[in-house]
């Protein structure tokens, strides 16, 4: 072989080796970028390999952000990395490639830019600035002399642009164009897959978060519904209590006025009856004294009918006097119970209130229920007397109603430090355990619709609470009930 032949051979071998190396690099790129779904890794593999093996020192990948704009998502070899920079579709080399979806290889960019700049300044000097558009700063090298930009297309859909630039006088060749096209084509697929994967992952996360949110909302909702229901129930109870109190207060006010009126109207005639009965008794005593004169007795003889008449008169007179005294006591109790003259906080003798209350309900207990009083030494208690009497009335009335046939009610009072305690124990039917928590609830009743509306004890509870006291109940079905009221001596 001639020396030229040897040289040709050597050239051929060298070119083959180079081609083989290129193919290996391209194969490696394809394997590496398709083995990952991480976008940043894909960008890194493409850009670094282009630099390391093919000498493309400045490269950018842009993705289509909107139909009219691309954004730099990865760059290599730029000082400020150009990341985040945007290019309008149709502007500059990259924008034109995106618009036309065709590869572009441009050399001598500096000279071309200078040529256009010359024309621009000529036009400005000629006063034709109005015809000129703005010079748009674009990501990339300001002094690039060569550029290859290639659209990244998947199934006719543009996803971005891959651009390579150089400042060197040596322009990009057709061979450079071929290498970049091959890599861009692989990169387009890998990027598209990664984007789809990322979108799917984001969607999955969104759904999971939404699901979790719904779950929490559901739980919260249930809690909130429960809490709200409780609030509403409590509000309802409060409302009914308030209503009941209002009704009760109104009733009590009416009753009080009625009582006052009745007491006033009855007092006078009862007083008259009592006084007349007393006068009658004294008059009869005078008549009896006159009839006991020995001369009159000898003259009249034994008169059994007269003796009987005097006996009947004495009995009736006695009953009349007792009755009027009883009516007077009832009126007094009524007045005391209503305590219309005491609508303010006063020091009150609780035993007085208990007694007047017992008088008023005496007719309910007569011959059936025995009242046992264990009154201790109690100081006067600062309270609203009418309200406390109402409490006594409610508790005692409940005790009476609890005793079906015969039984007893024991009232015990005593001082415990700065408090007084009033205990009302009955031998009635008792309260079932499951009802004990609810007996102070407005509307709760065990008596039946016609008997009560279940507000008495709730009002009792509210009154005691307002007096900063407490009321406690112990009961056992069949064995009776004990109500214990505890009141502070001074508020």
């Amino acid at each position: 072989m001639t020396p030229e032949g040897v040289k040709d051979n050597d050239d051929l071998v060298e070119r083959l080796a180079q081609k083989s190396a290129e193919v290996n690099v391209l194969r490696r790129i394809a394997l590496d970028i398709n083995s990952t779904l991480d976008l940043d890794q894909i960008y890194d593999i493409v850009l670094r390999t282009m630099d390391k093996f093919f000498g493309f020192h400045h490269s950018i990948i842009l993705l289509l952000e909107h139909v009219d704009r691309l954004r730099v998502v990865a760059s290599h070899g730029y000082k400020d990395q150009a990341l985040g920079g945007t290019v309008a579709v149709g502007t500059g080399v990259i924008g034109t490639v995106a618009k036309r979806r065709r590869l572009m290889r441009v050399n001598n960019l500096r000279s071309q830019r200078a040529y256009f700049a010359t024309i621009r300044s000529q036009m400005e000097e000629a006063g034709r600035t109005g015809e000129l558009g703005q010079i748009v700063p674009l990501p990339g090298l300001a002094d690039a002399d060569s550029q290859i930009a290639i659209p990244l297309v998947i199934k006719d859909r543009l996803i971005g642009v891959f651009s390579v630039e150089s400042r060197e006088p040596k322009p990009f060749s057709e061979h450079d164009e071929t290498l970049i096209s091959i890599v861009a084509s692989q990169a387009a697929s890998a990027i598209q897959n990664a984007l789809l994967y990322r979108a799917a992952e984001e969607r999955r996360k969104e759904l999971a978060e939404a699901h979790e949110g719904l779950k929490q909302l559901n739980e919260t909702l249930e809690d909130r519904v429960r809490a709200r229901t409780k609030e509403l129930e409590q509000a309802n109870r409060d409302l009914r209590e308030t209503q009941a109190q209002l009704v009760q207060s109104s009733k009590m006010a009416s009753i009080g006025m009625l009582a006052a009126g009745v007491a006033h109207e009855i007092n006078t005639p009862i007083g008259a009856i009592h006084s007349n009965a007393d006068v009658e008794r004294r008059a009869v005593d005078v008549i009896r004294g006159i009839l006991q004169d020995p001369a009159l007795v000898k003259k009249l003889g034994h008169q059994p009918r007269l003796d009987r008449a005097f006996k009947i008169f004495e009995d009736v007179n006695r009953i009349t006097l007792e009755a009027t005294e009883r009516v007077t006591r009832i009126i007094q109790s009524l007045k005391s119970f209503a305590r219309l003259d005491q609508a303010e906080l006063e020091l009150v003798d609780l035993h007085e209130g208990l007694e007047s209350t017992l008088t008023l309900i005496d007719h309910l207990m007569k011959d059936r229920i025995k009242v046992i009083k264990n009154y201790g030494k109690l100081p006067k208690v600062q309270c609203y007397a009418s309200q406390i009497n109402q409490v006594f009335a409610n508790v005692l009335a409940n005790a009476v109603q609890a005793i079906e046939e015969t039984g007893s009610i024991t009232i015990t009072t005593y001082q415990d430090g700065s408090y007084v305690l009033i205990q009302v124990a009955d031998t009635g039917v008792g309260i079932r355990t499951e009802h004990l928590d609810r007996i102070f609830d407005p509307g709760f009743t065990t008596k039946g619709v016609r008997v009560g509306i279940g507000l008495g004890l709730s009002i009792t509870y509210r009154v005691i609470e307002n007096h900063h006291g407490s009321i406690h109940v112990q009961s056992e079905p069949g064995k009776g009930t004990i109500f214990t009221i505890r009141l502070p001596i001074a508020r």
Partner: protein, 159 residues
């Protein structure tokens, strides 16, 4: 007469030039120019041509006397075309060679600055002239890219 502003351009600013002729059958030819100088009448221009660019030159000029010279400044693109009538040709003298050297150096520097090529490349682009073609300027056109490109500057265009 060549206007003063354009004279100044030819003397100080133009960095490279090219010329053209045409044969009898109107087939045009390119002749690279290795420099130029304006004669004292301020109307005749001496163009320096290297031997390699003389094909069809003299025969064309002697046939129809038509000659055009386009001078440009590398970088700014300021360009003028001079069209005129062939006067004669001669060998370059000392002053011609000095002018050639000046233009060659200026070109090499400009090309290096604008294109990034080493100055030696620019110097090689403008070889030593072997012939001086003289022509009188009949028309001058602005060829700088832009809105005025193509306008005749001398004699002024009728409005």
């Amino acid at each position: 007469m060549i206007p003063g502003k354009i004279l100044a351009f030819l003397e100080d600013e133009g960095t490279v030039a090219v010329s053209g002729t045409r044969e009898t059958n109107l087939i045009p030819h390119i002749h690279y120019v290795a420099g130029w100088e304006v004669e004292s009448d301020k109307r005749t221009i001496r163009c320096y041509i290297n031997q390699a660019d003389t094909d069809n030159l003299i025969s064309s000029l002697e046939d129809n006397r038509q000659f055009c010279l386009t001078v440009t400044q590398v970088g700014s693109h300021e360009t003028y075309q001079f069209k005129g009538d062939y006067v004669g040709s001669t060998e370059p003298n000392h002053d011609d060679l000095a002018a050639h050297q000046r233009i060659k150096t200026s070109f090499a520097k400009a090309v290096s600055q604008v294109f990034g090529f080493p100055e030696e490349m620019g110097l090689a682009y403008i070889p030593r002239p072997s012939l001086v073609v003289r022509f009188t300027v009949r028309e001058i056109f602005l060829q700088t890219p832009g809105p005025g490109a193509g306008h005749r500057l001398f004699p002024p265009e009728e409005k």
